[in-house]
């Protein structure tokens, strides 16, 4: 049986790690309805933009946000969902994404830059086309203003440069 002191320490930890904190305030920036334009990149060239809409709401107030998006990719209708929160114990933002483009559930974790304007998370994905597993992916959210967020996907195995493969520019819907 833990001692009263141990119990007190554990209770303090429970309060610290289980309740939303300052880091969760970032999630508020993503709340709302958005219009987006998505481009894909290869060899320095981009596809024509494809449009869509997304909406972010609280899944659990103050802890988890839920983003749903729908639009087109290659003119084919697509949709997806994302959950995001902040894990106080990992001290990282945690993200989980699913979409109608495949049957995988992708996870990523990361943190804000020091200036607080960019969220960078890293994850892995399994590539069914080549049979490879756990390929490194970087996801970046740049908070350019209260009404504009740019989301990037970077395929890190490409190399030192030219890793950006997807860019989605979100503009708050009027």
């Amino acid at each position: 049986m833990p001692s009263p002191q141990d119990m007190a320490a554990m209770m303090e930890k429970a309060k610290k790690f289980t309740q939303p904190g300052d880091a969760h305030k970032l999630l508020e920036k993503m709340l709302g309805k958005w219009d987006y334009e998505m481009r894909m990149f290869m060899g320095g060239q981009a596809t024509p933009p494809e449009k869509g809409t997304s909406e972010t709401t609280w899944l659990m107030d103050g802890r988890w946000i839920r983003t749903s998006w729908s639009g087109t990719m290659m003119r084919m209708p697509t949709q997806g969902f994302m959950l995001m929160g902040y894990d106080n114990f990992k001290m990282s933002y945690v993200v989980t994404m699913v979409s109608s483009m495949d049957t995988a559930m992708n996870h990523a974790e990361g943190d804000l830059t020091q200036d607080g304007k960019t969220l960078i998370v890293y994850g892995t994905l399994d590539e069914y086309l080549t049979g490879e597993h756990d390929k490194m992916v970087k996801y970046v959210w740049r908070f350019e203003s209260a009404d504009r967020v740019v989301f990037e996907v970077h395929d890190l195995p490409i190399g030192e440069a030219g890793t950006k493969v997807v860019e989605v520019a979100y503009t708050r819907a009027k």
Binding site: M40, M42, G43, Q45, A46, T47, P48, E50, M73, M74, R75, M76, M101, L125, E127, L129, T130, E132, K135, V153, D155, P157, I158, G159, G162, T163, V165, V166
Partner: protein
């Protein structure tokens, strides 16, 4: 896709819609000849050249970007040979045009270094003022010139054959100068340069040659029509001047830049008054139709068709780029099966 591959695929795929447009113009022009001006008919042929020059996926009679990309992919390893052939052909055509121009100037000889006769200057100035030109462009009397002509782009000059000038009446001289100065007022030297460049780039496409020839003829007809308008009731005299010119000179009256002009068509156009009824709407309709086919703007991709990928022959790196290509091809396949 590299820039060269894109260019070659455009050259290949533009041929089909341009041929269709040219066919329409060839059919429409004789019908329109009775009731429209040469200037409007020339616009039809400019639409043909525009169709050649614009991206293949623009306009109603368009080729989809996917087809153009497919053409570029299929060009494959032979693409370099095709590109080289095209380049050599274009350079040859431009060199040929330049060489022909120089040969013409050599054949026509040098201008008499002495000052022009006051009477000639006076007629030229009067003609220039009639046409609204601020001054009379430079005149040159060349002993070997086969006929009156305009030479030069930056500073166009009117060429008059020496032997003809000695025998021409004042009225004939005025008519000829009105015609040649009209070429200058219309900026025909620049238009001709653009046409020559397009024809040099599309040297392999008969449509470019047909359009060039028709535009040259219509240019002459347009100047004849302008002179006839200026002369008003005296326009039959202009027709007689053209006839006299053809009888005195070695060949038919020289058209623009030393090319023989179709005399019969010119004389017929001056003889038969146009039935102007319905001119504007008919010509406008034809022109709008052809311009729409040529390209009034990029056509909206058809619903469901994947957007053209600019890099279909690029080497995909990483998972996402491979997926992009695969999704694109799957989307194309889905579209094909729907059709």
């Amino acid at each position: 896709m590299s820039l060269l591959a894109t260019w070659i695929s455009h050259l290949l795929t533009a041929a089909i819609p341009s041929a269709a447009i040219a066919g329409l113009a060839l059919v429409a022009e004789p019908v329109l000849a009775r009731c429209t001006s040469p200037r409007l008919r020339a616009a039809l042929w400019w639409a043909v050249l525009l169709r050649l020059a614009l991206p293949a996926q623009w306009g109603l009679l368009s080729v989809s970007g996917a087809t153009e990309s497919a053409a570029a992919r299929e060009t494959g390893s032979g693409g370099t040979v095709v590109a080289l052939l095209w380049l050599l052909g274009s350079l040859f055509m431009m060199a040929l045009a330049l060489g022909q121009h120089r040969a013409l100037l050599q054949r026509w000889g040098r201008a008499d270094p002495g000052p022009l006769a006051d009477s000639l200057r006076a007629v030229a100035l009067s003609a220039a003022r009639t046409l609204g030109l601020r001054s009379s462009p430079h005149l040159e009397v060349l002993p070997g010139a086969a006929g009156p002509a305009v030479l030069g782009f930056l500073r166009p000059r009117v060429i008059l054959p020496g032997p003809w000038l000695q025998r021409a009446s004042a009225e004939e001289l005025r008519h000829v100068l009105l015609h040649e100065l009209t070429h200058i007022r219309r900026r025909d030297p620049w238009a001709h340069m653009v046409v020559l460049v397009i024809r040099s780039l599309w040297w392999f496409n008969p449509v470019a040659w047909i359009a060039t020839k028709r535009l040259a003829t219509l240019r002459e007809l347009a100047c004849d029509a302008a002179v006839a308008r200026v002369l008003g009731e005296q326009s039959p005299a202009y027709r007689r001047t053209l006839l006299a010119l053809s009888q005195r000179l070695v060949m038919a009256p020289i058209g623009f830049l030393g090319r023989p002009s179709p005399l019969i068509e010119r004389l017929e156009a001056l003889r038969a008054p146009r039935d102007r009824r319905g001119q504007t709407w008919l010509a406008g309709l034809s022109l709008v139709g052809l311009l729409a086919c040529s390209g009034g703007g990029p056509a909206e991709p058809s619903p469901g068709s994947p957007p053209p990928l600019p890099f279909l022959d690029a080497d995909p790196q990483g998972c996402f780029q491979k997926r992009m290509l695969v999704f694109h091809l799957l989307a194309e396949e889905a579209l094909q099966s729907r059709r």
